[in-house]
């Protein structure tokens, strides 16, 4: 039985630009079959029993709510900021819990080992202290003042820089990061990871970006992001236990895991347990 709180959230189910007429994109959401297609110029998300799901079109993607939406889809004000390039990066399927895909996105400590010489490099492996809070007004998890040395922080970065990050969990399976923009030091590059929970142990991931970068060809921007995410994929598929543990068990978190701890606490408090393991491992 899927908790009502889970059903009442928004989930990405397709890239707007790729939605075609029936049968359209036949996929799954929370273990149920759905179809995403165009009908009379409108994008429709249809459940297995023919019912129509609530739909929001935003950030290049189709978002659906299988229950009754508890709130509007989270805002990303930067998406409407003039001068930003919005880049849809396509979908990648991963055999892991949707929550683990989000948690990995929030983690910095793995950069030197998984994204070697790109987002991190030995011996610069230390994650300095940063701040984490669950913001009551927006009901989101935020990590701020995260600093990390990166050999090639972005496609547009010419050499190594210390990058500052902010991380934000905006929905149970969607997170957004803000990072130093190599082209425009007073602005942030914005990268989202939108995770579609197919089942508790299977997901499809839609990276999305809103960047200040007028020069890099679109294909290079997309491939940079896909390279990063595909480096994560083989790690994610090997994480054990497959479900994300929400209760303290065998895992011993460190200082660098503050964001993950807050994310897990937030999920537990809100009852967003789809893809989570509730019994101590």
């Amino acid at each position: 039985m899927i908790p009502q709180a889970v059903l009442n959230e928004w989930y990405p189910v397709a890239m707007i630009a790729l939605v075609g007429p029936r049968p359209g994109r036949q996929t799954q959401l929370l273990g149920s079959d759905i179809a995403v297609f165009l009908e009379d110029g409108q994008i429709v998300v249809q459940g297995a029993k023919g019912q129509r799901l609530a739909v929001t079109l935003r950030y290049g993607h189709v978002w659906a709510c299988p229950g009754t939406p508890a709130h509007d889809l989270f805002p990303i004000p930067e998406a409407d900021q003039p001068g930003r390039r919005l880049v849809d990066c396509g979908v990648v399927r991963v055999k892991c819990s949707p929550l683990r895909a989000v948690e990995n996105f929030l983690d910095i400590a793995h950069f030197p080992f998984v994204h070697t010489d790109v987002l991190g490099a030995e011996p610069h492996t230390e994650v300095g202290r940063y701040e984490v809070q669950i913001r009551e007004d927006s009901d989101e998890v935020w990590a701020t003042k995260v600093h990390f040395y990166q050999p090639q922080a972005a496609k547009s970065a010419a050499g190594g820089i210390v990058t500052e990050y902010m991380y934000r969990v905006a929905a149970p399976t969607a997170a957004v990061l803000y990072k130093t923009c190599p082209n425009q030091p007073d602005a942030w590059d914005v990268i989202g990871i939108f995770v579609q929970p197919l089942t508790e142990e299977f997901c499809e991931v839609w990276p999305w970006m809103a960047l200040f970068d007028d020069t890099t060809p679109q294909a290079d921007l997309i491939q940079f992001q896909q390279m990063i995410f595909l480096q994560d994929r083989s790690i994610l598929e090997n994480q054990i236990p497959r479900l994300l543990p929400l209760d303290p068990g065998k895992e011993i978190p460190t200082q660098a895991d503050l964001t993950s701890i807050a994310y897990r606490r937030w999920l537990k408090r809100k009852g967003l347990t789809y893809g989570a393991q509730m019994v101590a491992a």
Binding site: V91, V92, T116, Q223, M227, L230, Q231
Partner: protein
């Protein structure tokens, strides 16, 4: 020399890898294969009517088969990668280049299915992939008994480079390499080659770095 490239393509990686190992500089042009399907566009088909990646362009020469690119790079810049010049050795290399196409059609397709949602019979892809792995394991085990590590002769050739990517990426398509110790050793030997480059899903050999300094005893911390 220009390579029309996609970072997640095993075939594109074959060419990038051999060029890196030989110290040949390639100009890379990223093609939006996924999600843009730019390789199917009219503009791209004007370069390669087959609408496939990679494509290697060197002056008037346009190649659209990755194994042909390996042959070209090796003939032009490093004949040692072709194996010794005996008829048998040259033919064995060709045999493995053809075998690499079977790897692409089985393990490669399983990976594209599982990762980028390509349609197809995943069980058939995996089954034929495992058949290929068993053949490869058998050959590499015989080679080990004879004191060799690579596919043909005593040194790495384009045969290894052609077969390595889709084998090393097999877990991306849900096919484990745990059962193939000779393949794992061979993979390690390829990854240990000087100037080796990785791609997403193929990790470099962190474990071959110098041993880190000894960890101080707990009581001294």
């Amino acid at each position: 020399m220009k390579l029309y490239d996609y970072v997640l393509s095993a075939s594109c990686y074959k060419v990038r890898l051999l060029a890196a190992l030989m110290g040949v500089k390639l100009e890379l042009e990223a093609v939006d294969f996924h999600p843009g399907q730019a390789h199917k566009s009219a503009a791209f088909r004007a370069i390669n009517p087959a609408g496939t990646l990679p494509v290697l362009v060197d002056g008037d020469l346009v190649l659209s088969e990755s194994t042909a690119m390996l042959v070209y790079l090796a003939q032009a810049s490093g004949k040692i990668w072709l194996g010794d010049a005996t008829p048998a050795s040259a033919a064995k290399v060709q045999n493995w280049l053809a075998f690499s196409a079977r790897l692409g059609a089985s393990l490669g397709m399983a990976r594209l299915h599982d990762m980028l949602l390509y349609p197809g019979d995943i069980e058939a892809f995996r089954r034929t992939g495992v058949e290929c792995l068993r053949e490869l394991e058998s050959h590499l085990t015989e080679a080990r008994f004879a004191g060799r590590i690579f596919l043909v002769g005593d040194s790495p050739t384009i045969a290894d480079i052609a077969c390595f990517p889709n084998v090393a990426l097999a877990p991306d398509g849900g096919v484990s390499l745990d059962d193939y110790p000779s393949i794992r050793l061979w993979s390690r030997a390829v990854r240990a080659l000087p100037r080796f480059i990785e791609m997403p899903g193929i990790h470099r050999l962190h474990e071959l770095k110098p041993t880190p300094e000894a960890v101080p005893p707990l009581e001294s911390l």
